[in-house]
């Protein structure tokens, strides 16, 4: 089955004629303009008499005018025969849209403890409430019988704890089990599974495919569709960290007509939709914000602005999502209602960038549950540039720091939110040269102290924290001289904290710098300790260096105060490398060369963490490879410790298993070869016998032989060749 959006349930062959469309026709029948669209009916009002009526209408108007303009004398509340109202009122708005807004926003709002108003369009009342439309007999809604769903995390139960990866090549998308040196074992392989690319959800539960019509999530053992999100023209998708919500984006505004099954008019003209993954319903939609600045360059050509992605950034606990309006404010929305926190954006003048802490931070002396984000603002007039940490939902600013001569800043959180490093590119007073400072905020310590690393002379082009650790790697490059085609050499520098008493983290110290590299990217193993420094998307160099920061061997004397022992474990080269990814356990690394970037030797290499090449495969039209992520372990700290203690015993088991597997595999290969060889020999013999039957002398097969005419084979002729070679030439002046 080709799971494209068009023919998803193709197995149910339906006969057009036999289908009863009446329910659909009722639901989607095109309604003609009736001129009553500006009217709404409010129900559930308190019963009032003549005198109280005016007061109630006044009260109602206050509410109604908050969403639209009610026409003069637009509220009509009929009184019954007994002089009392009937509990409902008709309201006419100035425009149909306002009426729609009133229905949307006021329906179900409580007036007081006993009264909750119901706001409906007059036309709807007519449509649904007309006589005959409502059955007199109550029929309980049909509830679908419970269907056992597949376990979405079944892949984690693999007996040998293998990891999966997804590969997109040509038009095919497949999920495979990693088999180290051996060809990966396919779990599923389908044609045209996606139109654009594939993406795993952050915990690996779902495989995301993108189509013209929207996004689909797949999962479970049978790789069935779990949910779909209709977003026409979708190009990018982003999950919240706990897979509860999903953001989709299309460059073109969405066009929704009234009868769209999932999207409502609310989504019309929007670019972003935030969805609830569990219900597949849109929560709220937004338009793309243009970054400020000129839209055309000096020659009048439009500047293509780089899209900020993700524009909606999630807090670590899926409770908040925030978007920045550059230079003005940050809007924080609360999930799942998607309402603006405290009904207002947080004004931060000049804000350039912000990042949520990737984990819920534990701050000294603060027991409240809070999320933090870090932001920075550039120099504005005489005010210095600023980096701030803000706590949400209290909006308390925990820490700010003033910075001077700032050209640019990048915010890098450590994965446990212990530190945030602000990489500040500073220009000299003349604005001619650039240098980088690192301002490291120790978020977990009292008062959030800031440590500055200002020993770096060059510009830092890349920075990366050790996951779950406190060390970092950065790549620097000297000033780029103008008009050179060759990119300058880069240097890779390693930093770690000094040894300190107790559990404290000491000051950050430089370990070592490796000069004259071309490297431009840093990939830490997901469990820390190991890091790969690579040169990717480069025309001329493709090297990979595998480093260990806790090398167990001899330690350099000068490094004795450091919490790291750096050692280069291995190096590799992958021609045309475009992407690097660690497997979620940190045991393997895949480097790939994607057809999207160039058409040279597309395929992937699989390395182990030490840099040993296990497997390489060239695949035509290879586009993408992605490891399936893993959710965090369910084992407690003690259990993990226990496993680590018994690792030696466990590994014996696994090694025996590996060996057995290898032996059977080799035996199979040898067996196969033996059979081939026997078949070949048998074939040769058969051919020779057949030839003899034909009367062909095997001696004749090689053509006329020398010496067949009876002459003695000549003795091998000796050819003497004199080769002169000048070993040394000296010139002496005689005299």
């Amino acid at each position: 089955m080709a799971p494209s959006y068009d023919n998803l349930d193709a197995e149910e062959e339906l006969d057009d004629i036999e289908i009863d469309y009446s329910d659909l026709r009722d639901a989607y029948e095109v309604r003609l303009e009736e001129g009553l669209d500006a009217f709404v009916v409010i129900d559930g009002l308190p019963i009032v008499n003549e005198e109280q009526k005016e007061k109630l209408i006044k009260f109602l108007l206050r509410k109604l005018n908050s969403v639209g303009k009610v026409k003069e004398d637009g509220v009509f509340m009929p009184l019954g025969d007994n002089g009392k109202s009937e509990g409902f009122a008709f309201v006419e708005f100035a425009a149909a849209e306002q009426a729609a807004a009133a229905v949307k926003q006021l329906h179900g709002t409580p007036l007081d403890k006993r009264h909750t108003i119901a706001v409906n369009k007059l036309t709807d009342i007519d449509r649904y409430g007309r006589e005959g439309r409502i059955d007199d007999h109550y029929e309980p809604p049909y509830i679908e019988p419970f269907q056992e769903k597949e376990h979405l995390r079944s892949w984690l139960g693999d007996p040998s704890a293998r990891d999966q990866f997804c590969m997109y090549r040509g038009d095919k998308v497949g999920v495979f089990w990693n088999e180290k040196e051996d060809p990966p074992e396919p779990a599923v392989d389908r044609d045209h599974w996606t139109d654009l690319f594939i993406q795993w959800s952050p915990l690996g539960t779902y495989l995301t495919s993108l189509h013209k019509q929207g996004v689909q999530l797949w999962g479970g053992k049978s790789w069935s569709r779990q949910s779909r999100f209709a977003h026409p023209g979708v190009r990018l998708v982003d999950f919240s960290p706990n897979e509860m919500f999903i953001t989709t984006w299309s460059p073109e505004p969405i066009q929704v007509n009234e009868n769209h099954p999932v999207l409502s008019l609310e989504e019309d003209g929007k670019n972003y939709i935030i969805w609830d993954v569990a219900t597949c319903k849109p929560l709220r939609s937004f338009v793309t914000l243009d970054t400020p600045g000129p839209t055309t360059d000096e020659h009048g050509n439009p500047i293509r602005k780089k899209l900020q992605w993700p524009a909606f950034k999630w807090s670590a606990d899926d409770k908040y999502v925030a978007r920045m309006t550059q230079g003005q404010s940050i809007s924080v929305y609360e999930l799942p209602k998607m309402n603006l926190l405290d009904k207002a954006s947080i004004k931060i003048e000049g804000v350039m960038d912000f990042e949520w802490a990737p984990a819920s931070p534990r701050r000294e002396g603060n027991r409240n549950y809070e999320q933090i984000f870090c932001y920075w603002t550039p120099e504005l007039g005489s005010n210095p540039a600023k980096v701030g940490l803000m706590s949400i939902p209290s909006k308390e600013i925990i820490r700010t720091r003033n910075l001077f001569n700032v050209s640019d800043a990048k915010l890098h959180w450590q994965s446990d939110a212990k530190f945030v490093c602000v990489k500040v590119d500073r220009h000299s007073k003349s604005k001619k040269s650039l240098a980088t400072n690192l301002e490291i905020f120790r978020v977990e310590e009292k008062g959030v102290p800031v440590e500055v690393v200002d020993s770096i002379k060059d510009t830092v082009i890349n920075f990366s924290w050790e996951p779950k650790g406190d060390r970092f790697v950065l790549i620097t490059t000297p000033e780029i001289p103008a008009n050179t085609a060759v990119p300058p050499k880069t240097s890779v520098a390693f930093f770690c904290p000094e040894k300190a008493k107790g559990n404290a983290v000491g000051n950050f110290k430089h370990i070592r710098t490796i000069d004259k590299k071309n490297s431009n990217s840093i990939y830490w193993g997901p469990k820390g300790r190991f890091v790969v420094v690579a040169t990717i998307q480069n025309q001329s160099s493709f090297d990979l260096d595998f480093w260990d920061l806790d090398f167990e061997g001899e330690r350099d004397e000068k490094d004795k105060d450091l919490t790291a022992n750096l050692q280069l474990m291995g190096s590799g080269e992958h021609y045309g490398i475009t992407d690097v990814e660690w497997d979620p356990t940190g045991r393997y690394l895949i480097t790939s060369s994607s057809w999207w970037k160039h058409q040279m030797e597309n395929g992937y290499h699989l390395y182990d963490f030490r840099g040993t090449l296990l497997r390489e495969e060239h695949i035509e039209g290879f586009k993408q490879i992605a490891w399936r992520k893993r959710p965090p372990t369910l084992l407690s700290k003690d259990q993990q410790k226990d496993v680590r203690k018994k690792l030696r015993d466990y590994s014996k088991e696994f090694e025996a298993e590996d060996l057995a597997k290898k032996n059977t595999a080799t035996r199979a290969v040898v067996e196969h070869r033996r059979r081939l060889l026997e078949e070949w020999n048998a074939w040769r013999q058969r051919v020779m016998e057949d030839l003899e039957d034909e009367g062909v002398d095997p001696e004749d097969l090689r053509g006329p032989q020398d010496g067949k005419e009876g002459e003695e084979p000549e003795e091998g002729q000796v050819v003497e060749e004199i080769v002169e070679e000048i070993i040394k030439e000296t010139e002496e002046v005689v005299g």
Binding site: H618, E620, W680, W683, L701, P704
Partner: protein, 335 residues
């Protein structure tokens, strides 16, 4: 295995051939000249001048007396190997893509190009294996390829069949005496041309190379595909090694695309596959253009390759090459 680089041609090589004894290599290129070289040290023995256009093909008879060549000047020419004297010229309406002597050297086969309203044909001349003999003017046999033109052709064991590879990926078997077609089978991908056809030492089976990136080992008797060698680049040539059960494949990115790609991506390597196990054993780099032809020394002691880059590279195999054996082969050898 340090190769000897033969740099005597000014344009792309089109074919290289060893003599029956393996002591002389003949090479033809688009520069109109045939060169003869000593295979042992790469010294040039001489050249054969006379052709007026790019040369496509060359072959030498088993006694190394006569040399046949064909090219874009629409002629097949017969030369005296020893002196370089032109003995005979046969004129045709179109270019000659392939010439080959029968195993006994008494017949010469030529493949003509399909062009300007002429069908591709295979012609056979009876040859008198003497330098001063008066060679025949008319072919003794003519096969017209009405379906798809032949690109390569050769004589099977004892000259019984003529086997031809076609532009549409098929291989056909003709009777070498009556020109009757016995078989025509699609061996390679349909409509992808076969670029080379070379024989095993006893000519009971042969290997075909194709632009479909595979080479196939085919039986001459029934055209059954015995083995398939899959590569990642279009192939121009394939050869079977005597002594060792290997095949050598050569090819690379099409010549017209070469300038836009790096040498690395061009895949200009000679690839060694195990003939029986169909597994790649190794590659030999060196050319900086696609390999147009690979030829193996008849005694299996070396091979040479001619490239689009204008060089012939002659390789003599090391001891390690002969020592290399798969485990199962070693077992077999002991018995």
């Amino acid at each position: 295995m340090r190769p000897i680089l033969l740099s005597g041609h000014e344009r792309a090589l089109t074919q290289v051939k060893y003599s029956r004894d393996g002591d002389i290599i003949f090479s033809v290129s688009k520069d109109h000249v045939i060169c003869a070289w000593f295979s042992i040290n790469g010294e040039r023995l001489g050249t054969y001048h006379g052709h007026q256009g790019a040369l496509w093909t060359v072959d030498v008879d088993p006694s190394t007396t006569l040399l046949a060549s064909g090219g874009a000047d629409n002629t097949i020419r017969l030369w005296e190997v020893k002196t370089g004297r032109l003995l005979k010229t046969w004129d045709f309406p179109t270019a000659i893509k392939r010439v080959e002597f029968s195993p006994d050297g008494r017949r010469l086969l030529g493949v003509t190009e399909k062009r300007m309203g002429y069908l591709g044909t295979i012609v056979v001349f009876d040859i008198i294996l003497e330098v001063d003999a008066d060679q025949t003017n008319e072919p003794s046999l003519r096969i017209e390829c009405t379906e798809s033109k032949a690109t390569v052709a050769g004589f099977s064991y004892v000259g019984k069949y003529i086997i031809a590879g076609h532009e549409d990926g098929t291989v056909s078997q003709y009777d070498a005496k009556t020109a009757e077609q016995y078989l025509n089978l699609t061996v390679h991908e349909p409509d992808i041309p076969i670029t080379d056809l070379q024989w095993s030492a006893d000519r009971t089976y042969f290997i075909t190379a194709s632009k479909d990136k595979t080479a196939k080992l085919v039986s001459a008797v029934d055209l059954e595909v015995l083995k398939t060698y899959v590569t990642d680049t279009p192939l121009n040539s394939a050869a079977i090694t005597p002594v060792k059960d290997f095949v050598i494949l050569g090819g690379g990115q099409a010549a017209m695309d070469v300038t836009t790609t790096s040498a690395r991506q061009g895949k200009f390597e000679a690839r060694f596959y195990h003939k029986i196990f169909e597994e790649e054993i190794g590659r030999v780099r060196g050319h900086f253009g696609p390999l147009n032809y690979v030829a193996v020394h008849p005694e299996g002691t070396g091979y040479c390759s001619g490239g689009e880059d204008g060089y012939v590279r002659v390789h003599h195999f090391d001891k390690a090459y002969f020592d290399f054996l798969y485990e199962v082969e070693r077992e077999q050898a002991k018995i």
